[in-house]
Symmetry: C2
Subunit: 160 residues, 2 copies
Amino acid sequence: MAGADSTLRRFVGYDMKRAFNLIQGDVNAVLKPFGLRMVTFSALCVIRDTPGLKQSRLAQILMIERPNLVLILDDLERADLVVRERSREDRRAFELTVTALGAQVCNQAVAAVERHDARMTSGLEGAEVQALHKALRQIELNGRSVNDPSDRSTGPVSPP
Amino acid sequence: MAGADSTLRRFVGYDMKRAFNLIQGDVNAVLKPFGLRMVTFSALCVIRDTPGLKQSRLAQILMIERPNLVLILDDLERADLVVRERSREDRRAFELTVTALGAQVCNQAVAAVERHDARMTSGLEGAEVQALHKALRQIELNGRSVNDPSDRSTGPVSPP
DNA sequence: TATTGTTATACTCTATAACTATA
DNA sequence: TATAGTTATAGAGTATAACAATA
């Protein structure tokens, strides 16, 4: 038989929602022993790779609103993984860096998430996983263009 | 330069979260004129394709908790798109069917979501979109196996 | 006047326990 | 006793307005 959700299975968004819900549940379980969630893990990685980063910039990179980032950084600072230091050039802003503990936890968490990722993509060949990354990034570009009419870099929206 | 989130870009989950957030925002905007959200649209489609469906079964199919489904069906019933009727065989249960209006709105919404889907996957060839569906469904299978050790149908988890 | 970080708030989505009515 | 649907509730995640300090 066809399956009760066969109409929905035609849509990428439906397959993606189901896959993502399972990934998110599993990755949060993987990160829990480190005291991290998906979003605090993401912030920790970006700060580690970009020392001195300002909060506004981090919010842009992760596409989250500034007010929501405050709580995420409070969380990371409380766990002694990240520090906020006043910028000397612009005393409104904070420069973000990871602590020694933060760098260590980040390394271990990245390794754990890599294992999680391998589990989630098992049964797919390397080329299939690369094609998946490519497709997801193309969709991200298309979605940005839809939400921001000034971005015509890839031209997927309706022609003039 | 490498991009501040290059560590995260290695993970399927990160690319998928970003792509899905954009898809979800766009599809909800597409569905708003129909008075639908992603989840009420999904429920409407499944009910239309499976007349007489019970609420418990629908919750299983869409992988949502029964209490949350109640509000979704209240929403659809209030809009006169779906009706709940007491089952004669089991008077605890409700049988779900779409109204004539529900069938009409479902048709139009499916067409609108098909156009949304084409927009989101533009720049990808048909074979790439098919490969995307395949990869997402494999991840869903892998994720189910992780969350339910009794499901070894595809064997992606650690061997005994 | 504009920007950085913050507070407060609200709205959605999701998850769990406990209730009712039926089986 | 077990199940179907419901209620109440609590926890995330997300979005906006308004404020203080600084530019």
